[in-house]
Symmetry: C2
Subunit: 396 residues, 2 copies
């Protein structure tokens, strides 16, 4: 046995509380707002069946090795897609990854030496914390309200250097909140002052249920600097929330020297993303994306509405929650002193309700009085019943 | 632009000479022995078309998130498969990876802190060097002839620690050579003396064209120690050379605490391997593996025979080559002073022949007078013609 030989980073690796939690939810009768997973009934399954068939009928290419950069026609489709959301780039600015989780891992690998600083939200996406953590950074709190200046961040970084700020500006996991235009512009100023990269996680970008789209940070930086080649923002996209998570297809958009280096990272790490998956996603994106997104917005939007309304009706005084304009999550802040993990234990036990305690999303271990509710994978009646149950445990 | 912010490891990342070379080979008329890629005409493409259809007809599960450990039925099939090659393990000893390349990356990540030592062959699989290199180790030369003892390795490791020995014991890339039973037993003795892990790359294990199978190193260690839980050997398998490389499905077999930690690595790095790919590979493995392997052995074995015979007929004095019992490669040693890269330039220019100069496979930069020939993706007539051309440039 060789566990005593593990690298120092291994001591920082821990199981995602969420994924471990999901394994406990197989019991019948449980209402789960825990997993941030899309509703499989909304997948374009038939379209994928046809696309796989077409890819394999075209010959063995779909089963053969392919280039680390990714499947050309998919990257071409993404050039158009990025243009539609305000980013002007070419195929050479795009790398296909195995989900945007892999993009976060590769960016951690590319930028972080031990002791370097990554700026993240308190809270932020747990998968980002875990991906970066493997490269043994310090985490510091990214604040977009102007309360901390560049000098303060630099000083806190000590011996290391601040390397990047990570954020999901649209309907973030776990809070559901959106960074407004002013916050995005502030972030770009701060990044210029600090001379750091910005990692923009666009996982939920397409799932807006109200209000107007705000340009991606990368788009705003391009407006300032003219060309993507002058930009420090790295955009990570994903088909997981729109077409299929199980095929593991995401992408990165950045200046060419960054993409070239990420291609080397990918070449050494897994050679390339699966060929068949990229071909199938390209076909389904081309033929179904434009019509599928409105269906998702309608379905998930109705679920969000149902959850917001039920919270209004069932939450006791002192409980606060976010009003997400899109995505899959509502973030609930319990009265100070109340503990989300204890509440989960009681909820599972007494009313068969599951959600995620919020503390896991805080790199500093705070946030004990928060919980994350996902509305993406339950119908409206189930959502109403679940929130009714949450009200019961909260009042007990 | 933020390249100045890259981690120290980025300076070690370089493009695989082989993958860059492959991009140059689109010209008509070129005979290529360069890529170590399987012949796509030998893929069970129709079986995969049926398997994908079956997986997607069964519902949206194939498109949904799944567990980091991998698809249960595939892991169960692998338990049987490992038993057939001499390894006794359970489902909990198996992690599914996105190709065995990903297993090498994750094992580097799990074991190597900067300055630690990885023992590898001179030469060895270039993808292993590149995967490990990202974790900033020292490389030292693994010798299985008894010429270096544990004390010598430990001393050379300096401030770091020797963490593992990596090897591909059957028909290795690039040499095609096999480590005999005595060499495997010696390796286990050395690993016990050094208290290090052994990473056994079984990528080509199933492709034997002559002679009897030699038990995997993991099987031999299990015979010594009784249970896989007491073993330090980590076996990496792959479907890339048997069923399909483009689906990116491989696996790791090891003691449970190692697998548990690798699951955490995978969870943080890409969540899980694509669900559909694992379901399709499970079906094709179950229904076709046993009949497909003999077909591959026959086809690739005939190509190996053709190349060996042609080498015998065409190589001038002073040129030596290996006699692989399986796999995809023959390794050619040119007379001292001759340079494989120069020979390639001449071969491309004068006789439209491609192969891989051997130096890339040496972590110490030696091996200038070697070249790697792949026989897997050319028919016998093409092989004969290609080796005839090699004889011409060598004599010129």
């Amino acid at each position: 046995m060789t566990q005593n030989l593990f690298a120092t980073r291994a001591s920082r690796m821990k199981a995602s509380e969420i994924r471990e939690l999901l394994k406990l939810l197989d019991q019948p009768g449980i209402i789960s707002f825990a997993g941030g997973i899309p509703d499989p009934n909304l997948f374009p399954t038939e379209a994928f069946a046809q696309a796989c068939q077409a890819a394999l009928n075209a010959g063995p290419q779909a089963l053969q090795y392919s280039v680390s950069e990714g499947y050309g026609p998919l990257r071409e489709w993404l050039v158009q897609h990025m243009r539609e959301i305000g980013v002007d780039c070419s195929v050479d600015n795009i790398l296909i990854t195995s989900g945007s989780q892999q993009a976060l891992d590769y960016l951690g690998k590319l930028y972080l030496s031990p002791g370097d600083t990554a700026l993240i939200g308190w809270p932020t996406y747990l998968g980002a914390i875990n991906a970066f953590d493997a490269y043994e950074p310090r985490f510091d709190r990214l604040m977009l309200n102007g309360n901390r200046g560049a000098a303060e961040y630099s000083e806190a970084a000590g011996e290391g250097a601040v390397k990047f700020a990570y954020l999901s500006p649209d309907f973030a996991n776990p809070t559901g909140e959106t960074v407004d235009l002013r916050g995005r512009e502030y972030l770009l100023d701060l990044a210029d002052d600090l001379n750091i990269a910005v990692i923009e996680d666009g996982a939920y970008q397409a799932l807006r249920y109200e209000g107007d789209a705000i340009p991606p940070v990368l788009s705003l930086e391009q407006a300032r600097k003219g060309s993507i080649e002058a930009c420090r923002t790295i955009y990570c996209g994903s088909f997981s929330k729109t077409l299929s998570p199980g095929l593991r297809v995401g992408w990165v958009v950045a200046a060419k020297p960054i993409i070239s280096q990420l291609v080397l990272v990918k070449q050494a790490a897994d050679l390339h993303s699966p060929t068949l998956n990229q071909m199938a996603v390209e076909q389904v994106a081309r033929t179904h994306f434009a019509t599928h997104i409105p269906l998702l917005r309608k379905a998930y939007g109705a679920r969000r509405d149902a959850m917001l309304e039920a919270l209004q009706q069932n939450m006791p005084d002192g409980v606060q929650w976010t009003h997400p304009q899109g995505g899959m999550f509502i973030w609930v802040t319990l009265p100070t002193g109340m503990n989300g993990a204890d509440l989960l234990a009681r909820a599972l036990d007494t009313v068969k309700l599951a959600f995620v305690p919020g503390r896991a999303f805080f790199a500093d271990g705070s946030g004990a009085n928060t919980i994350r509710l996902s509305f993406s994978n339950s119908d409206e009646d189930t959502i109403r019943e679940g929130i009714r149950r949450l009200g019961i445990v909260l009042r007990a």
